[in-house]
């Protein structure tokens, strides 16, 4: 039963899915800086609207995005609360020892909250609509300039793609070994910490040994198929820009322009 989904990709077929991974990665990356352009209610509304439109464009259930935010909820709330209680200036509503609630504080807390949440939401849009392999291809492209300083970008890319390819295989293998040891009376869930750590050996040792075996076999197979390093290799998988990327580019430029116009200088 080797049907697992790697990463958070959820199959779909909207225009966001059809965008080139390079464009999506770049948008995500620059978004982190662009969000600092927002500094008043109008600009924050604009960027929130942009994010919401992206979410709607995936045609996925809201729960998917909540799942993306959930692990970060405490960090976001904690940071927002720090802003709320430690920002001074403006009108004071409440004051006790070193803690203040002021109108500046309330505003900063909301801004910080939005900034965090929107960044997570936009990256979730990227990860749920882009296959891990495409992300790896996109990263390879983004890393291209590093070739100037002799970083083996092709090798890194090949390693990434092989790693992705073997995730489900290793997952299956883990499940199989776990079941085999359970059948021999091993218990992975019971007992205290020491007992549990000891119980892990029958799982970890075979997994490690099998992985080594896979690595040896795979390197033999690669050599037999003529792999001599990345020099002189051509590429079968290529990325290509399409009209959907114009939607990405156009809307992103529109966002930046609007933020520039409406922000307080």
């Amino acid at each position: 039963m080797s049907k697992i989904i790697i990463g958070r990709y959820i199959p779909g077929d909207t225009y966001i899915y059809k965008m080139d991974p390079r464009g999506k990665l770049l948008t995500c990356f620059i978004f982190v800086f662009v969000i600092f352009l927002a500094n008043n209610w109008v600009t924050y509304s604009i960027i929130t609207l942009y994010t919401l439109l992206a979410i709607i464009g995936t045609h996925l259930r809201p729960k998917v995005f909540w799942d993306g935010v959930k692990p970060m909820v405490f960090l976001i709330l904690f940071t927002s609360l720090l802003q709320l209680f430690f920002t001074t200036g403006g009108k004071v509503y409440w004051h006790w020892w070193g803690l203040w609630i002021t109108n500046y504080g309330i505003r900063n807390a909301i801004y910080i909250f939005l900034r965090f949440t929107l960044i997570i939401l936009i990256s979730t849009v990227m990860t749920v609509t882009t296959q891990p392999l495409e992300i790896a291809d996109g990263i390879e492209w983004l890393l291209w300039p590093l070739k100037w300083i002799k970083v083996p970008v092709e090798k890194i890319a090949l390693v990434m793609s092989i790693a992705l390819r073997f995730v489900p295989t290793l997952f299956d293998e883990t499940l199989k070994i776990m079941n085999a040891q359970r059948a021999r009376g091993a218990d992975f869930n019971d007992g205290g910490l020491i007992k549990r750590i000891k119980a892990i050996a029958p799982l970890i040792v075979p997994l490690f040994i099998n992985s080594l075996e896979v690595a040896v076999d795979l390197s033999t197979a690669m050599e037999a198929r003529g792999y001599q390093g990345s020099e002189g290799r051509t590429k079968y998988r290529v990325l290509s820009w399409s009209r959907y990327d114009l939607i990405n580019l156009g809307s992103f430029i529109a966002l930046i322009v609007l933020l520039e116009i409406f922000r307080i200088r």
């Binding site: 199959p11 021999r184 009376g185 218990d187 040994i209």
Partner: protein, 286 residues
């Protein structure tokens, strides 16, 4: 100890986009001390069924009675030790489960888990090391220094060492050479004859013909036939329709029949074929 399945269904990843039916309303009863073959092609639900025997998977629906346990969807994961001691599973390519520093320690892992003392476990391990056809001299060696075939034997010894009442094996001879295959199957036959139940998951119809007395045929998660080997292999067109093969001897008899030589009995093994041919020739002489 008999095994009974009552309307057992199993669903993989229920409620997710990958939801899939593994078993569909499976009911049967296997008699104690039988040698049952479980056949069907890849993806037919054989492995899923097998994992229900010791509650690695629990039915989504229905109920299983096995070795004094009743297993249904509410069965807790606790207190399954006695069940797993009595009903043992050998997965495909079991050599990948070896992990101990020495061969003996690896075989003794199961017995120790199931409550045997250190000494008893060692003793059992040594006994089964020899039973699977390995020499005592490998006992203190690392299992990873040995050949693939030897590792397979060690893994199987590790599961048989606590002498389960029901032994269930998934393609235990896959990849072994003909002699290794035969030795392995003789070992399971002997185990059955000494008063245990053996369930063999296999693609090899000759093994079914040579060793089994009962056959379960799976297809698409359903049990489509439960009968003796003679009954299962009697209908060649049914077998073809379900992408199942015949034993080599039966195929040979079919070729004879096509050329006009009809044997009097249904033959499944080389021995039966020889006897039937001999009878035919002798009858002709008389």
């Amino acid at each position: 100890m008999s095994i009974e399945f009552k309307n057992v269904s199993y669903i993989y990843s229920p409620g997710s986009p990958l939801e899939q039916k593994g078993l569909d309303q499976v009911s049967f009863k296997i008699k104690e001390n039988s040698f049952t073959a479980l056949i069907g092609h890849t993806g037919s639900g054989k492995s899923t069924l097998m994992q229900h025997f010791n509650a690695l998977l629990k039915p989504t629906e229905g109920e299983i009675t096995i070795a004094g346990y009743t297993i249904n969807k509410d069965t807790s994961n606790k207190n399954l030790k006695q069940l797993r001691k009595n009903v043992s599973l050998v997965f495909q390519f079991p050599e990948s489960q070896l992990f101990e520093n020495t061969v003996l320690a690896d075989i003794a892992f199961g017995p120790k888990n199931f409550g045997y003392s250190e000494d008893e476990a060692k003793e059992l391990a040594l006994k089964w090391l020899k039973k699977v056809g390995l020499d005592e001299t490998v006992a203190e060696r690392s299992p990873f220094e040995l050949s693939g075939g030897q590792m397979r034997r060690i893994a199987i010894a590790g599961v048989m060492a606590y002498e389960p009442a029901i032994l269930c094996l998934d393609e235990p001879a896959a990849g072994l050479d003909p002699r290794g295959r035969k030795e392995m199957l003789e070992l399971f036959k002997e185990y059955q004859e000494s008063g245990h139940t053996v369930i063999l998951v296999t693609h090899n119809m000759d093994d079914v013909a040579d060793y089994a007395d009962d056959v379960l045929v799976m297809e698409g998660g359903k049990l489509i036939k439960h009968a003796t080997p003679k009954e299962v292999f009697a209908d060649a067109s049914w077998l073809t329709a379900h992408h199942l093969g015949s034993p080599t001897a039966a195929k040979f008899a079919q070729k004879l029949a096509q050329k006009g030589l009809q044997l009097d009995d249904e033959v499944l093994t080389l021995n039966e074929l020889t006897q039937a041919l001999k009878a035919k020739m002798k009858a002709g002489e008389a």
